[in-house]
Symmetry: C2
């Protein structure tokens, strides 16, 4: 388990990878973001992307999934939010996505000294090393002493 | 269909509402964010939230779903990203979530004059009028003339 004390500014890690299928893209978008260019091949061909792409909500959820598939368990308390969330390139069927991150800030919570707040720059890239999502997110992590 | 020309800075809208069930919270988290406090009642009771809460990825996807359940169809080209994404309160089972937004900026794309870029401040609140998610997002919208 990785506690607040285990995060250091400047640490870089490759969290893990996964492959997303055409059917997963269509299923997620059908449920949460049924834009024609996420669920219909003809509409997707006519879009500026020229083919089926994943909903940005799906891309956001996939970076979460990569964390949980990885070997490392963070003593997470809550997600606080993010700055500079970008989707520079779309995710396409059969893309292999790799998540890496860098710890950019750490501090103890003022109101809860048993909890620390970590900020992290995340970078999700496809198999062509194109960035499909980036953000600087902040989350609350338990301190080891409190565990 | 709502085109770029239909967005004006300062416009405020209530997009729509939905109710999220306990089972939906568990199903989404099981797939994308299987933290104990999203999928297990005992772990959730012991968390700082004192009960089951939705994954922030799920909350993010639910605001997308409210857009699509609404009566209004935006001539969306692509989501670009967001600033100031926050999850001030968690989403809980049977919460009734209402999405409202305000257009904060509009401009024509420099590289694609047939497309405009709209920025919007979104606010997702529960039935107690507590904010569960906010962000300022930007997206590309087709111009009416190009349609």
């Amino acid at each position: 388990m990785r506690y607040f004390e285990d995060f250091e500014v400047g640490q870089r890690r490759v969290v893990g990878s996964l492959t997303v299928s055409r059917q997963e893209i269509i299923d997620f978008a059908t449920k949460f973001d049924p834009q024609p260019f996420h669920i219909d091949d003809a509409a997707a061909e006519a879009s500026i992307f020229g083919g089926l792409t994943a909903s940005s909500c799906h891309t956001f959820a996939l970076q979460s999934l990569i964390y949980h598939q990885g070997p490392e368990d963070i003593a997470l308390v809550a997600n606080l939010g993010a700055e500079d969330l970008r989707f520079p390139k779309p995710v396409r069927p059969d893309d292999v996505l790799t998540l890496s991150n860098e710890t950019t800030a750490t501090r103890i919570s003022e109101s809860r000294p048993e909890i620390g707040i970590v900020s992290m720059r995340s970078h999700l890239a496809n198999q062509h090393d194109e960035c499909v999502m980036q953000m600087t997110s902040s989350f609350m992590v338990r301190c080891r002493e409190s565990a």
